[in-house]
Amino acid sequence: MDNVVELDGVTRIYGSRRRPVAALRSVSLVVSAGTFVAVMGATGSGKSTLLQCAAGLDRPTSGRVRLVGQDVTRMREGALTRLRRDRVGFVFQSYNLLSELTVRQNVLLPRRLGGPRPRPLDEVLAEVGLSGLAGRPVGELSGGQRQRVAIARALAGRPAVVFADEPTGALDPATGGQVLRLFRSGVDRSRVTVVMVTHDPMAAAWSDRLILLRDGEVVADGPTPDPTTIAERLAATVSDPVVAR
């Protein structure tokens, strides 16, 4: 099973029948195991929708999504939840941790919900640089530390793929760099697949492959260039006059 994520003609339409808004227009792409993919585009280009559809958090209006070899488009909610719990990790801009609970309790949360046996906690925490903080409530940590807790939670269960939505959006460049380095080493060492949505060219530069979206369509897809080129291409997709449809 080499293709971790497959999208085939995925369209997602929001809004009423009378005033439909297409967030994704017939997007097809394949992500193979052990790649770090960055998805970029202007606000409203459909990046987050792409991520949510690919991760099985949202269902496309039409088209098909395969996640770790399984068609999630028609999967029942229960089976889909188990698939996400066992094979997929999530990291969000707003952390989405339980701030009253401790670092340990947060990292072990998927396990307590019946997920796979995680790697030893000490090992995972050492990897993300949080050794010795297992007993601290997450609410007492800094933003960078919280995001590393989220990454520890995502990586502890040996997922096939991690979806990250603006994981460095709330962090300063140096702290953001630490977070991205963790994704990078996860990909290189454990062949985890990472699909990351970002608007920051410096963050995208850590990836292997860059997908640019505009108006719900893929406009560029290829090996990730250097940050300056990323910024130029991103600017080009944003400033291009959008043809009224």
């Binding site: 909610e77 996400r84 919900l113």
Partner: protein, 446 residues
């Protein structure tokens, strides 16, 4: 500005105020109804023989006691529910303090919220109380307990009394809850709301221990005193112990929480949640314990007396005994459910996160049910202890027995009711909160 803060708070968390509104409405009904029933009895135009019969039924005395009891009970529970709904706004208060609201302004805004809820609740509660009192008097005359000449006459004091109790208690409760967040520096308040204080307040524990000890001592004195006066003072014994149990609530819940670990991973998560949320949940513990203790004392007194005397009491007597208690128990139960709902709805975000990391709806619900069971166990244990401390000395004084008697049938009904109430206050709002997909809930409620 004040009106703006109030309006925003009400709009942002309609449920946090709907709960106290219902509670206060019932409180006003209870207080004004008791007052109406009592004044109708004393003011009824009766011929001397009927008056004599009424006085001998000791019902006027009982009604007067009801008035006193309802005042204390409603003030306590109204204050408590208002405290828990303002406590939820800690973060919002810190935010408006950060952008320049003075502590005084925050207190005024909170007071305005309390009044906005209490005044309409009282206005709606008084007519409800009149209906309640009318029905009660009709029941008493119907069972032949009091002469048929006693009919309901609305008391002029009902409205001011109901307004005074609900608005007063609501204000006090709200201001007590706002005291801390209004006073501390905004920066401290913002971090504090992210991490609730874990250590239990020493003062809180001491107050709890003092109240419980006081209740126990009082109960022992009652046992040795005049059995005729026992009914009224045993109420205060019970109230003191219930409030004491409320102060000790966080400690008690943390003692019970580890039991949840018997249920595997789900239970372990429930136990952790209970430990961090013990303070909020102990707000529901007081009315729950009150309801359990009230009902148990009344039922056990009755069943034991029947058991000892070997003869069933007259239906009229049973009706009189149970009808009044039923009203209090219902009121306390409604307040308990309201508080549970408020606590659960504050956790929408947490439920969404749990689902996002891989809990199915059923599994997330299992965590909630597990927590609910632990709250039930705590409330049942505390309620039973309070009831027994109250009732055993009383029974000894009245019947000369140390052994309370409760038939299995009534015990089962009681247990089922308590479990049902707690589930109603937790599972139903959890289902409502989880209707939307988790990602959507998080986007709305970041």
């Amino acid at each position: 500005m004040n009106a703006g803060l109030t309006r925003q708070a009400l709009r942002k968390q309609p449920w946090a105020f709907a709960g106290p509104f219902v509670t206060q409405c019932l409180a006003a009904a209870l207080a004004s109804g008791a007052l109406g029933a009592s004044s109708s009895m004393s003011g009824a135009r009766l011929d001397p023989a009927a008056r004599q019969a009424l006085t001998e039924s000791s019902l006027p005395e009982m009604a007067a006691l009801f008035v006193v009891m309802s005042v204390y009970l409603t003030a306590l529970i109204v204050g408590l529910t208002m405290t828990s709904s303002i406590a939820r706004q800690g973060r919002d208060i810190a935010l408006v303090r950060a952008v320049g609201a003075t502590p005084g302004r925050v207190r005024r805004a909170v007071a305005a919220q309390a009044a906005v809820v209490a005044v309409p609740a009282a206005l709606l509660g008084v007519p409800l109380g009149a209906l309640l009192a009318r029905a009660w008097l009709a029941g008493l005359t119907g069972h032949g307990v009091i002469p048929p000449g006693v009919t309901f006459h609305p008391s002029a004091a009902a409205l001011p009394a109901a307004l005074g109790i609900t608005v007063g208690a609501s204000l006090v409760g709200a201001l007590v809850a706002a005291m801390r967040p209004a006073r501390v520096r905004p920066a401290a308040a913002l971090t504090e709301t992210a991490v609730p204080r874990r250590q239990l307040s020493f003062v809180r524990t001491v107050i709890g221990v003092v109240l419980v000890t006081g209740g126990v001592l009082l109960s022992i004195r009652i046992a040795n005193g005049d059995p005729a006066k026992a009914d009224g003072s045993s109420f205060f014994t019970m109230l003191a112990m219930c409030v004491g149990a409320g102060f000790l609530g966080p400690v008690l819940l943390r003692l019970v929480a580890p039991l949840a670990r018997l249920f595997g991973g789900t239970g372990a998560l429930a136990a952790d949640n209970l430990a961090v949320r013990s303070k909020a949940l102990s707000g529901a513990l007081v009315p729950l314990v009150l309801a359990i203790a009230f009902a148990m004392v009344k039922v056990v007194t009755h069943t034991t007396s029947v058991h000892v005397h070997g003869a069933p009491e007259s239906p009229a007597e049973v009706w009189t005994e149970y009808s009044g208690t039923a009203v209090y128990v219902t009121f306390a139960a409604v307040a308990a459910v309201n508080t549970l709902v408020t606590v659960l709805l504050a956790r929408r975000r947490e439920l969404a996160v749990t689902r996002l990391v891989g809990a199915s709806r059923v599994r997330a619900l299992a965590v909630v049910v597990c927590e609910a069971l632990m709250v039930t166990v705590t409330a049942l244990a505390v309620g039973t202890v309070v009831a027994m401390v109250t009732v055993v000395p009383m029974l000894h004084g009245m019947l000369g027995t140390w052994k309370p008697y409760l038939p299995t049938g009534q015990l089962t009904v009681g247990l089922a009711t308590v479990i049902g109430l707690v589930l109603l206050g937790t599972v139903v709002p959890a289902l409502v909160a989880m209707r939307r997909p988790a990602v959507e809930s998080l986007a709305v409620d970041p």
